[in-house]
Amino acid sequence: MKPARRALLFRASTIALAWMLAALPSIGRAQEKKPVRVGFSIAQTGPLSSAGKSGLLALQIWRDDVNARGGLLGRPVELVVYDDQSNPAMTPGIYTKLIDVDKVDLLVAPYATNPTAPIMPLVKQRDLLLIGNFALDANAQIRHDKYFNNQPWASARDSAAPYLALCRRLGAKTIAILAADAEFAQNLAKGIRAGLAEHGLQPVYDENYPPNTVDFSSMVRTIRSRKPDAVFVASYPSDSTAIIRAVNEIGVGDSVKLFGGGMVGLQYASIMEALGSQLNGVVNYNTWAPEKTMDFPGVRDFLARYQALARQANVDPLGFYLPPYDYAIGQLLEQAVTATRSLDHGVLAKYLREHEMQTIVGPIRYGPTGEWARPRIVYVQFRGIVNRNVDQFRSPGRQVIVAPAAFKTGEAIPFNRAHQ
């Protein structure tokens, strides 16, 4: 090798070495800034997507808030999100990818019971922390000790109890139960069935319907022919709309004092607006309503920010049902990570189990199965609703909380009277 060429090689090697040495600190800084990855699937298409989209927006607001505060453990927070298409068959694959390929630091469950149930064995087998997102009784049999569900009711029985109490208060002796053939609706119906004897209720109609039912006229007619005092319906959004329509068109009978219960969809702005006055008198579960008993610190501020973004994002403009709870999921993770200064799932689970968490949906303490220790599902009665006006639902008095007693803002009026 010629001396000139050797000198050139030497100089090039020196420059390369110097560049590598200079780059080392920035590589270190990049390692420090490696984001904390929070992974989950949430329905962006399919029947659960209306709530799923609003829930994702809430988690994105939390991500922006926490990053504005400096992130978690000094690292920015990144959401790794997949659309599970509301399909329970998709979620095991998605969560395997989140764990093994994306290698996320923290896991949030999919929105709703049906997509959550299939991932429970996987999460338990890997011994991972999972924050549940509105899954009813998903951990009842698996009993995973690192599962913490963010949902204001702990079991099907809890959700049924206020409705059954309302039946008794209104003097109902007989009940008709109509439930969709799917996990969540079936769990709700089980909760009602379990409490019938205790509340002196006789079932006169108890049927499940398949998920792709188009017209409910025949079912409503059959229910009417049995003359029940109360009707409990556990349905999904499109079915809920069709059932309410059928009840308005052909009537459910003058005997009915209480109608509603577990109808998913009657919490969504688009459906409430479209059904309008047809909702009057219906008593249905909800998680939040603009009533004075639900004024938890920070919730109205969050909703104001959510509602400003919701219009641009073309999602539920009210955001009462899921968004505050999904923002609270972020708060749960943030408090646990900040307090323990750890991302270890065992450490975080221990903290969540032992401490009361402060969130915009109120203080949360967890019970032994990872459900809220003090369940708080509320039943609202639609009153004075007019057609085609979404803004009316922002005011108190339209969704009067009639149960449970701790959050009540009015007494339940019998359906046959309130509906007229």
Binding site: N212, V214, N248, I271
Partner: protein, 289 residues
């Protein structure tokens, strides 16, 4: 089961069955007469329903909107078939499976496009006949289902007359029987088929109007109708318009009686059970060629 409830179930079933027939008519033409496994048909029904929803926002009646949109859907159908023919039918023997995948893809694209434009929320329309009912003695019938019944009869009658009384209609039936013979008669089978596909697609506009009149729609609703519309088209006997109406009514009445007597869980099993039974006894369907 009390007689009164049985009568109500039968009336309800006939109305529901006519609705099923209306949403399946286009598929009967596309699949039955043209041998195009139009799996994207329900997606175009939803597209029609959203078109009606848009016009309804400006105060247009849903049924009128369906009629106004039909020519647009006809043009869309003609263009769609030309593309399908050029890309798949003209090519070799495995075109069928690739064509099916293509149609699946189209249905997903339509669904995602609707999500991007309208969001995932359910949409409904306003009309005087929605939410009202008609009393026939003790029987109360939802007016929206009566509208579905009337429009289904009208659509079926119009299509049946067109296919049997007009030159193009007879050519469409001829192309379904023997393309080569039709070519020898001097007619271009591809042009006839694209015209027929245009008609099949045009029915998506009024049928989409019915869909949104009968219940709320969302972009993913089409998936629920794939099985039901194919069931009606196959049970009818591929390509038969009156068969489609009869098959729809049979399914509707069977579903309704089962709903009222044995319980809703059995309804889908009965519908598809009838299909299996009919195909076992009469493989060409009720009115098959």
């Amino acid at each position: 089961m009390p007689a009164e409830l049985l009568i109500e179930a039968i009336v309800s079933g006939i109305l529901l069955g006519c609705f099923y027939a209306a949403v399946s008519l286009g598929l009967s033409v596309a699949f039955g007469l043209l041998d195009v496994p139009h799996i994207a048909h329900p997606a175009f029904l939803i597209l029609g329903a959203y078109g009606v929803y848009l016009l309804n926002m400006y105060g247009a009646d849903p049924l009128l909107s369906g009629a106004l949109l039909a020519p647009l859907f006809f043009v869309l159908g003609v263009g769609f078939y030309r593309a399908y023919h050029a890309l798949f039918e003209k090519r070799g023997s495995d075109a069928g499976l690739r064509g099916l995948s293509f149609l699946f893809g189209v249905s997903f694209i339509v669904e995602v496009a609707l999500i991007l434009v309208f969001g995932v929320d359910q949409r409904m329309v306003d009309a005087a006949y929605i939410g009202a009912s008609v009393s026939l003695g003790e029987l109360r019938v939802p007016t929206r289902m009566l509208v579905a019944f009337g429009l289904a009869l009208l659509l079926s009658a119009a299509l049946a007359v067109y296919l049997s009384r007009t030159f193009t209609g007879r050519a469409i039936r001829a192309v379904a029987q023997d393309q080569v013979a039709l070519s020898l008669m001097g007619a271009d089978p591809v042009r006839i088929k694209q015209w027929a596909f245009g008609i099949a697609m045009a029915t998506c506009a009024p049928a989409g109007a019915l869909l949104i009149v009968v219940g709320p729609v969302d972009p993913g609703l089409g998936r629920l109708y794939i099985g039901r519309t194919f069931c009606v088209a196959v049970l009818a006997g591929l390509g038969s318009v009156k068969g489609t109406l009869a098959a729809g009514i049979i399914l509707g009445v069977a579903e309704s009686i089962v709903l009222s007597s044995f319980g809703p869980s059995w309804a889908p099993a009965v519908a598809f059970g009838i299909l299996l039974l009919v195909l076992a006894v009469r493989p060409t369907g009720l009115f098959g060629r």
